[in-house]
């Protein structure tokens, strides 16, 4: 065998190996397309209907500024209400994600954190988590109005004051699926997977 023949054999083997890898990747892409479907969050209970006006609530944040939630907004931005608690470990892992998402989506979205309990405890929490720039509301009625059953819980209210999505959020995927839900007009995970309407 001449050196050229050997070189050709080696090249063929490399080409085949590369193609095998490309094929495996295309298959994985197919699987990913199926698994990471753009969906709304998992909805845990019935009650507040997505697609209908969100309940309007007047609240005061930790700094004393008053905020009106659930009303149409003049600046055309949506509001993400995220219910958290200093004692919820998942909330702590979610907060850096919320901050980065908030920065990323700030053109159309304001994030407001909500909780209830002792204000001093929450001020310590805000300081420890570096949340000084995010409005933080303490209001038990707010949580009841939005029927928060588990934390961290999010509700997305659009610029017209319509509730677009609500549900449990445990990860960046859950959080972003709320944005997808608004974009696609899908209310929840169950809604997405129910037969075509």
């Amino acid at each position: 065998m001449t050196p050229l023949t050997i070189s050709v054999i080696v090249l063929w083997i490399v080409v085949l190996a590369l193609l095998a890898v490309v094929f495996a990747l295309t298959r994985q892409l197919g699987v990913l397309h199926e698994r990471i479907a753009p969906v709304g969050a998992l909805m845990l209970n019935r009650g507040l209907a997505v697609g209908e006006p969100a309940p309007a609530v007047d609240v005061v944040d930790l700094d004393g500024a008053s905020i009106r939630l659930g009303a149409a907004r003049a600046d055309g931005k949506s509001t993400l209400l995220l219910f958290v608690s200093p004692t919820c470990p998942v909330c702590k892992t979610l907060l850096p994600i919320v901050k980065s998402s908030g920065k990323h989506e700030r053109d159309w979205l304001d994030i407001i954190l909500a909780s209830d309990g002792n204000p001093d405890e929450h001020r310590d929490f805000v300081r420890a988590q570096g949340l000084a720039n995010v409005p933080y509301i303490l209001s038990a009625p707010l949580g009841m109005t939005y029927q928060v059953s588990r934390l961290p819980f999010a509700a997305l209210v659009d610029e017209a004051g319509i509730l677009r999505a609500r549900g449990l959020v445990n990860s960046r995927e859950h959080l972003e699926s709320l944005f997808e839900a608004k974009r696609l007009g899908v209310a929840s995970l169950q809604d997405y997977f129910s037969p075509a309407k």
Binding site: L16, F23, T26, G30, V186, A196
Partner: protein, 179 residues
């Protein structure tokens, strides 16, 4: 255009492999293919007469014929006819609006027919036309053997990749379009 025999053999062997694997796949689950075949609705219903088994048989016979020198032109012509026939069958059913028809083109998942399959089959049929081009005559050596032995799996993998990518795109489109 005069074709080098190594290239000609590479193309015909690749088409032979495609047909043989398609035939083998259909034979493995003849009952399923029978249902797909009748769903295409191109044959008059003949109770008690099953012709669907003819398709995989024909595929395998053509595949074998493509690798043998004497029968290559005939098999090439049959392959062109068969592949164009598939393209026509898919096109007719797309035109009828039967978009959720299983294509029966193999693979682990049930895939529905799509316009790109018509083009794929027409292109493959066109490739089978190399049997009608004049081939140069020269003795084939070791390097030609390598070209064919390694080239066939290479082409097969490229085919599978394109197939998979188009299938992915199709499924994604269906997912987004279903709302």
């Amino acid at each position: 255009m005069v074709l080098d025999p190594a290239i000609g053999l590479l193309i015909t062997a690749s088409i032979a492999l495609l047909l043989a694997s398609a035939g083998a796949h259909k034979l493995r689950d003849l009952k399923a293919f029978d249902e797909i075949f009748s769903a295409y609705g191109l044959m008059p219903a003949m109770p008690g007469m099953r012709v669907s088994w003819l398709v995989p048989l024909l595929e395998i016979v053509i595949a074998a014929g493509l690798v043998i020198t004497v029968s290559r032109p005939y098999s090439g012509a049959l392959a062109m006819l068969l592949l164009s026939g598939y393209a026509a069958a898919i096109a007719v059913n797309l035109k009828r609006g039967h978009r959720d028809l299983a294509c029966g083109c193999g693979g682990p998942e049930r895939r529905t027919i799509a316009a790109w399959m018509v083009w794929r089959n027409l292109l493959t049929a066109l490739a089978a036309g190399v049997v009608f081009l004049p081939w140069t005559h020269r003795p084939l050596g070791l390097t030609d053997g390598l070209t064919i032995v390694f080239g066939v799996p290479t082409i097969a993998l490229i085919y599978l990749c394109i197939d998979q990518l188009l299938g992915n795109a199709q499924r994604t489109a269906q997912m987004w379009g279903s709302r």
